[in-house]
């Protein structure tokens, strides 16, 4: 643990311990703040309170078993975590996923992005004193979670995206449900914007707060909305497309002010872009077609086949007793999570269990630039700055 003496305390300044149990730290983040009056002189974030050793646990499971662990890294973006892990293992295997499954993945991941941004918007607003936005955001998030429940049978820890495809055929009635959500959402986003965008309190709490220059943002490896609000249109969906994102029409919203207000505008614009993508994905998803790749020995066979074919039964048995063994090698895949570049590095030694699984979690890396954002600012703005980089502590500590 970081002790107080790592911050240089002099007679003029005072050391304040913020967290780990502080409502606006979005989990268990501790920050040591050295204050001169109300101005932050130095800030030292202290993390690790939620460390659960997921990367170590992955090494003790087969490739398919580890998927359930990935859900729990970033609990606001479980589908994105499933996706990046599956893409990495598929790359290691050289497996090609059918188009239909790719579009279903895009649809669910974009819904997830909206739900994550809604949680961010609601909590960020409540931190800064706007209570009602929180209630509205969670009302709409509930609708998304209901759609996830339809698809996966689970609201949060879905484990829906699997190696080689997705777990289940989209449920009956998914189209009306998603369409209903798409029809409802644009006016609801307008509602949030009416509450916040021109709200003088909101503007004064966020404008010119938490500035970081684009050069610094890149040097500190920041990605996601934080980098895009600094004027760089770096989005993995456009720059290094995966899961057929190159077939979708959408814009990458950017701003140049690089303050909390710009990041707010970028995220709200991203919600609208995600809606566009979901629209297109709905049209692209055919009513029939494969949802998993055909790779015996890697993808579990269908139930029906197991009743008639001996090979299918053998493969089923082998997959669930010993798993499959990719050839030795390493693969790194990065996707765009709601928080930034979410990467997954998987190394194989030719055994059925991964040699190493590492997650490049955007929250962890964006958080290390927090002192850069808050040093020299007022203590009240620390809250705004923590909110604006959108951290999930489960992902920071893994």
């Amino acid at each position: 643990m970081t002790t107080v003496d790592t911050v240089t305390g002099t007679a003029k300044t005072m050391v304040l311990n913020m967290g780990p149990q502080h409502p606006s730290t979005h989990g268990v983040l501790r920050i040591l703040l050295e204050l001169d009056g109300e101005t932050v002189v130095k800030a030292v974030p202290d993390i690790g309170y939620l460390h659960t050793g997921i990367e170590k646990s992955c090494e003790d499971k087969t490739y398919s078993q580890a998927i359930t662990l990935t859900d729990r890294i970033d609990y606001l973006n479980p589908l994105g975590n499933n996706l990046v892990y599956c893409l990495a293992v598929e790359k290691l295997l050289g497996l090609e996923v059918p188009k239909r499954a790719q579009y279903i993945r895009v649809l669910t991941v974009e819904l997830q992005r909206i739900s994550s941004h809604l949680v961010w918007l609601g909590t960020h607003a409540i931190d800064l004193g706007a209570m009602s936005v929180f209630l509205y955001c969670f009302r709409e998030r509930e609708e998304i979670l209901k759609i996830f429940e339809m698809f996966a049978g689970q609201r949060m820890m879905t484990s829906y995206i699997r190696i080689g495809g997705v777990a289940l055929e989209p449920p009956a009635g998914w189209r009306p449900a998603v369409r209903k959500f798409l029809n409802m959402m644009p006016s609801r986003v307008d509602e949030y914007e009416e509450l916040l965008t021109k709200n003088p309190i909101w503007v004064r709490r966020t404008k010119d707060i938490g500035y970081i220059s684009p050069e610094d943002a890149i040097a500190w490896s920041m990605t996601g909305p934080t980098l895009r609000a600094a004027g760089l249109a770096y989005d993995n969906r456009k720059v290094f497309p995966y899961s057929s994102y190159e077939e979708f029409n959408f814009d990458v919203p950017t701003r140049t002010e690089s303050d909390c207000y710009a990041r707010y505008l970028v995220r709200v614009a991203e919600i609208r872009e995600s809606l566009k993508i979901i629209h297109q994905a709905m049209e692209k998803i055919a009513d029939e077609g494969p949802i998993t790749a055909e790779a015996p020995g890697i993808i579990p066979p269908q139930r029906e086949k197991m009743k008639t074919e001996m090979e299918a039964l053998i493969y089923h048995f082998k997959i669930f007793t010993e798993g499959f063994s990719p050839q030795p090698g390493e693969a790194f895949v990065a996707v765009e999570s709601p928080r930034g570049e979410l990467g997954c590095f998987v190394a194989s030694d030719g055994s059925p269990k991964p040699l190493r699984v590492h997650f490049r979690s955007p929250s962890f890396i964006n958080l290390q630039a927090l002192p850069k954002l808050i040093e020299g600012q007022l203590i009240a703005d620390v809250i705004a700055c923590i909110g604006t980089i959108d951290i999930v502590l489960g992902e920071v500590d893994r």
Partner: protein, 179 residues
């Protein structure tokens, strides 16, 4: 069967990186590995920081974003630690992986914080979980684990359950029924 092995041909981009590094220092590249369209450049340990600086500053390469740094423990093979740095060039839309191998007896490499400040926490994480030390790191402390933690949990010779004696469920039950 739709198992399709991605062709392992070296892409045009990979050649640029390899050529640039070779022309900068003929000893800079120990090995180039092409696997699944990913280029891995294995560097000698002494040249890591200089080569990384070259990758960042060279106008032909422009690897301005250090996206990830991680370690693989290949115990009991020596050199056991394999450090991987994933670089992205935003202007050139390119990726490359730099790799350095270090032995278990002397797990020390140069820190890249002076090249990319963002390497700070990534290297602290590797130090915390693998026990690899970074020369010239400004603040090399444990980051995820408590400071008094013994051992480095992501090493392969560290058991998944940990070293500490964990009381079994039946022990806990006996204890609770005695109260």
């Amino acid at each position: 069967m739709r198992l399709e092995i991605v062709t392992e041909s070296s892409s045009q981009n990979a050649n640029v990186v390899v050529e640039c590094l070779r022309s900068w220092n003929p000893q800079a590249i120990a090995e180039v590995i092409e696997f699944r369209d990913e280029t891995t450049i294995v560097l000698p340990r002494e040249l890591l920081r200089a080569a990384a600086e070259h990758c960042r500053a060279n106008a032909k390469l422009q690897f301005n974003l250090l996206t990830d740094a991680t370690c693989v423990d290949r115990y009991p093979v020596e050199p056991r630690f394999e450090l991987n740095y994933h670089l992205v060039s935003i202007p050139r839309r390119d990726k490359v992986r730099l790799q350095v191998c270090v032995s278990g007896q002397d797990p020390v490499v140069d820190s890249l914080v002076s090249v990319w400040p963002g390497a700070n926490w990534l290297e602290r994480e590797i130090f915390d979980l693998f026990g690899v030390r970074f020369n010239g790191h400004p603040d090399l402390r444990r980051i995820l684990l408590p400071e008094d933690w013994e051992g480095y949990p992501l090493r392969k010779d560290f058991p998944v359950e940990g070293f500490r004696d964990v009381p079994s469920t039946s022990d806990l039950f006996k204890k609770s029924s005695m109260l």
